[in-house]
Amino acid sequence: MKSQTLQKWISLLLFIALIVILGVLSTRFSAALDWTAGGRNTLTEASQAQLASMDGPIIVRAFVYSGDPRRRDIELDFARYQRAKADIEVRFIDPSTQPQQVREFDIREPGQIVLEYDGRRETIPGTTEPMVTTALQRLAVSGEQWVVFLAGHGERSISREDDSRALTGYANALRERGLKVQSVNLTETPAIPDNTSVLVLASPERAYLPGEIELVRDYVARGGNLLWLADPDHPVGLAEVAGELGVTWLDGYAIFPDYQVIGTGHPGFFAATQYPANAVTQGFDQITLFPLVRAMAVDKVNDWTMQPMLVAGESAWLETGDISGGTVALDDDDIPGPLLIGATLTRDLEVDGENRTQRVALVGDADFLSDLHLAEVGNEAFGLNLAQWLALRDAQLNIRVPEAPDTDIVISPLGGKAIVAVFVIVLPLLLLLVGVGRWFVRRRR
């Protein structure tokens, strides 16, 4: 009897051991099939090619509270990437217990994810494949790329902490993206550095000296990329450079009579809700806010190709009169809409024997990137897009993730009512009636 019991226990242990061994084997040798239409759980070839081109580890830091079920989704989303590249490490950081990490990585809200590769970082708000792969593309670009802000003529500062008009936050955001940022005062060092990837004219308030204008002109003529922000509060100056580009900055403030509908709270605030087809705003769907803007007109000169980037609609106009009086109206001196607020210029040219594309971006406002307004809805993302595009760091590959086949549902109102009736009322009642019937049969017995 005793030995029989012992035997039973041994066979039970063996049985459990067998289950454990099979469990281990099942995880070691597993295959996954994607049953979704278009294989939406599988990485696109673009993403796989991107991963293959990156040697070296990638660290993913997900700022999600401890125990939050979102961690599982993030893990599953990155598992697809880990299957294609083994040295991707996902770390979860609880923002409530790691405030210093939240500060270090500049996390604004839980759920943000920081990708790190080769010492460079990109922050993304989610884990969809376009988000992750585009960020990886930007991370993969190495080399020193300098964004140079000219100074010395009342341009927006990139280092003053006490000035809400300064572009300090924007400069920091650029640094986080792996771009080098510096300020060059032309009155002290009369030269634009040779390694400049993007030159920024951040709305100068005072006129440039002829020699300085020549430096900027020469920079543009030699194929340098330029970001030109021109606030309406001051004369733009640099007319010779504008002439090279074919741009005419129009003086005055754009007025938006339907500001109450959009809810900006001020008739001089331009809220961009949709964008014309432009490389900078490709796939960009956030609202951007520009406090007090001027408009521009662009003529075709020097092989430049112009693409509108920010356009104000028919109802807007450019008020050339005084706006401090409090009431404005469209009169004969004003310029009626639609207005061109932002544009990009591109041209192909040969520099030192190699062909390349030169890029210029023009915006009739500088406030949207200032510390006061950078955090408004999509402003920072838009500003970063601008810099990335100008630094030639925009996506070389276009990631087209297959869409779900069933994004649209066509249902008649009657059909909708029928679905509600059937699944919430009729079907449950039927089932319940059968049950009650059974119960009656039982009681009768």
Binding site: A32, W35, A37, N41, L76, F92, T407, R438
Partner: protein, 246 residues
Amino acid sequence: MNILIIARAELRRIFLSPLAWAVLAVVQVLLGFVFVNVLFDFINQPGFGGGFGASDVVVGQVFGFATILVLLIMPLMTMRLFAEERKSGTLNLLLSAPVSLTEIVLGKFLGVVGFIVVMLAVTALMPLALLPTTDLDVGRVAAGLLGLLLLMSAFAAAGLFVSSLTREPTIAAVASFGLLLAIWLVNMVGYQDGVPFAELIRYLSLIEHYESLRRGVFDTADIAYYGLFTALFLGLTVQRLDLERQ
């Protein structure tokens, strides 16, 4: 063949009682309510702001909510399997019948699986109703249904084992609910910071393996997990009855 005979008897017993029908009705009301709500949200906001489809959002949410429901109902469906027989004294008859213990356990288990299939058939009517309205991602829905089937079968095996331990169906129900909840919640522990063996803990959790199926990924490791989980508890039940037989 004995297995099928027992399974059929068990299935008959399940559907002769009002409980099964009441459970089906309640499940349908709750799932139908979730389905209709999410469906109208989705109609008002096609793609859900990210190219998501009806099978991802609408059906996915129904299947997500279904997991909580089946956690609550499966203990009710399995509590009587052996406890009732023991209480009414029919268990001894069954054990002395000329069938092997394995056949008894598998037969009863298959009977409950029959009920599960009926319930899933009713649930599947909701995605089917969307077929004429959109180009439904059938593969994804099928993976989700398979996931529910595996999850509920695993629940059934665990409940069957608990039911073989006691003579009171209510105790069996509460105990198997507690057991399932523990294996379920283990998952949350696995996502806490600073927990040792977090990966192993997550692997052991019932819900972890359902998630990828709900997304439409058929991973052999997940299928194997449910198969092994089910086999483990069926095996334990056989062992337990074997002790009783002596």
